[in-house]
């Protein structure tokens, strides 16, 4: 059989395969260049960017949990100027679309970051993080209230002509109404899920392990919740969906596509195996080859349910 067609397109971003790297788990790309071929994956999403450099939370910031991990990085990032000056030039030389994940500490800041990125060559699209559970002033409000989310998305929509992905929080009663609200406000695509808010305790010291007390749960543990949300949103919203949450291998990735995702993101898996994103793309292709499936896009939403 000839090679299966692995390409997909999300909101106008053409990718050689559906595998993107999840924000905050792949640095600014260069960190992984020794471990995989950055030109073998579909797209790279960079660490959440804000207008100014941001210190983030005190440490400990991460802790392992059963089948997962909590992080409370607190959106530490270099800020948009340093990103443009120091990180983007490297990324531009990589023939793989770069999507910039962004957030604002205030509503206005969302707009400002988006405008600064608009028209910037080397940025294929933006992913708006309305869902980060770590920063008190930040995403949490926007990400769990449909009206607040709409405000952010509308403002960002006005501030950019780039493809706009909106990233949803799972910490909500009704993810579908959040998705619909973001769709109506002008999102080109939706990515989900961000982390579930969780906590870990050091029994002997009688203290939370994370300095921030709570953090975001990621990894295989959350996969069933992520799959469920992707499936619910795909049934109810027309936009392309990017599935995220606990994807460790090609089979996991393809399950998200059956549930309705057009592309997927690899997060925590890159910590366990820095070559995970490339491996997952290869495993997906292998599965297609072995099963005589000609194009990966034929699997999108192909679940019989």
């Amino acid at each position: 059989m000839h090679k299966p067609d692995m390409s997909v397109e999300v909101a106008g971003i053409k990718m050689r395969n559906p595998v993107m790297t999840a924000s905050g788990t792949f640095g600014y790309g260069a960190e992984f260049a020794d471990y995989l071929d950055l030109e073998s994956i579909g797209a790279m999403i960079t660490k959440g960017l804000s207008l100014k450099p941001k210190a983030g939370n005190p440490t400990p910031r991460i802790v392992e949990t059963p089948g997962g991990m909590l992080n409370a990085i607190g959106l530490q990032n270099v800020g948009i100027d340093a990103f443009i000056a120091e990180k983007l030039p490297y990324l531009k030389n990589v023939q793989t679309p770069v999507v910039v994940n962004l957030y604002g500490n205030t509503l206005e800041e969302y707009g400002e970051v988006a405008s600064r990125l608009d028209g910037l060559p080397g940025v294929a699209g933006i992913e708006v993080n309305i869902s980060c559970p770590n920063v008190k002033q930040g995403g949490i409000v926007f990400g769990t209230d449909p009206k607040a989310a709409q405000e952010v998305v509308r403002l960002v929509r006005k501030s950019t002509t780039k493809p706009m992905i909106v990233k949803l929080s799972p910490n909500v009663t009704d993810v579908v109404s959040m998705a619909i609200a973001c769709a109506e406000a002008g999102a080109d695509a939706l990515s989900l899920i961000n982390t579930l808010t969780g906590m870990a305790i050091d029994l002997d010291r009688r203290r939370p392990i994370l300095a921030n007390v709570t953090g975001g749960l990621s990894g295989p543990a959350i996969k069933p919740v992520a799959l469920r949300m992707v499936w619910q949103v795909a049934k109810n919203v027309k936009l392309p969906i990017i599935g995220i949450g606990g994807i460790m291998n090609g089979r996991d990735a393809l399950e998200f596509m059956l549930a309705g995702a057009t592309a997927i993101q690899v997060g925590t898996a890159s910590f366990l195996d820095p070559g995970a994103a490339q491996r997952i793309a290869r495993e997906m292709e292998q599965y297609l080859t072995e099963n005589g499936i000609e194009s990966v896009s034929s699997l999108i939403g192909a679940l019989n349910a």
């Binding site: 788990t25 960190e31 992984f32 020794d34 910031r61 991460i62 089948g67 991990m69 990085i73």
Partner: protein
């Protein structure tokens, strides 16, 4: 780099302390003292994250079946939780996935200085490979090793065989002097020295204050909870000397460290 390694040996040295030798690609031979590796104890998701360990030794060995020398890496580790407990159950021939060498190592410093190594508990581990490098360079090396009791004091003979002068202190006096290793150290500090320290944070803080007081340059090797080991997750950061919420200055232990000049860091 990432590679599949095989356990060569995994020996209990004293209660809860193990020394494990693993095969490695030839390139690992050029690893620097102070660098570390991260290993995945099992392919399963429990435990999920890799575990970081300093390079205790790197060298070559002759296999029975051929003439070319093969490279090995060694770690010295203490069983403290689930990951290290599972590690201690590995046998010769078991496979293991490694990332190595990671991070920045010790800078060996000027020729002729007296090199002072300070190790607290399993913080001794990376100092052996360092001592080897320093001795190979012809330096005079002294080791100050501390622990809670004699079971925490490991491989002193190995250091001595390199020609290192050793000083031991234990909290309970079951080996060497009774007291903190820093108390012993203080008596021997002076000009013309350079300190390399690894151990628990309070010890490193004390050593670095002492070093500053005596005007002795000092490098410390830190531990931090790590997820990626390559500077991507920002989980392992430590505040730099000038860090404040207004002027954030975090350093990645995995990438900017684990070895830092003591003055680079903020000691609380």
């Amino acid at each position: 780099m990432q590679f599949k390694s095989m356990v060569i040996s995994n020996v209990e040295l004293s209660p809860c302390y193990f020394r494990m030798r693993m095969t490695a690609p030839q390139d690992l031979g050029t690893s620097l003292p102070g660098q570390f590796l991260m290993l995945k104890v099992t392919e399963s998701i429990d435990p999920l994250l890799r575990r970081p360990f300093g390079l205790f030794d790197v060298g070559t060995f002759q296999a029975e079946y051929d003439e070319t020398p093969h490279t090995y890496v060694e770690i010295l580790y203490k069983v403290v939780g689930k990951g290290t407990r599972m590690l201690s159950a590995l046998h010769h021939g078991d496979g293991i996935d490694l990332l190595a060498p990671l991070g920045k190592g010790f800078r060996l410093g000027e020729k002729g200085e007296e090199k002072i190594l300070v190790g607290g508990g399993v913080g001794l581990a990376p100092l052996y490979y360092l001592a080897k490098a320093l001795v190979a360079q012809g330096e005079k090396v002294r080791l100050f090793a501390g622990g809670r009791n004699r079971d925490d004091i490991l491989c002193i003979t190995e250091f001595e065989r390199l020609g290192v002068e050793t000083y031991v202190a234990t909290d309970d006096g079951t080996l060497g002097e009774q007291g903190f290793v820093t108390e012993v150290l203080e008596k021997h500090l002076g000009a013309g020295q350079r300190i390399f320290a690894c151990g628990p944070m309070p010890m490193l803080g004390a050593v670095s204050r002492m070093a500053e007081a005596h005007g002795v340059p000092c490098q410390v090797s830190l531990e931090a909870y790590m997820a990626c080991g390559v500077g991507a997750c920002l989980g392992c950061v430590m505040p730099g000397a000038n860090h404040s919420d207004q002027t954030p200055d975090y350093r990645c232990v995995c990438k900017d460290g684990p070895v830092f000049d003591s003055f680079e860091l903020k000691w609380s």
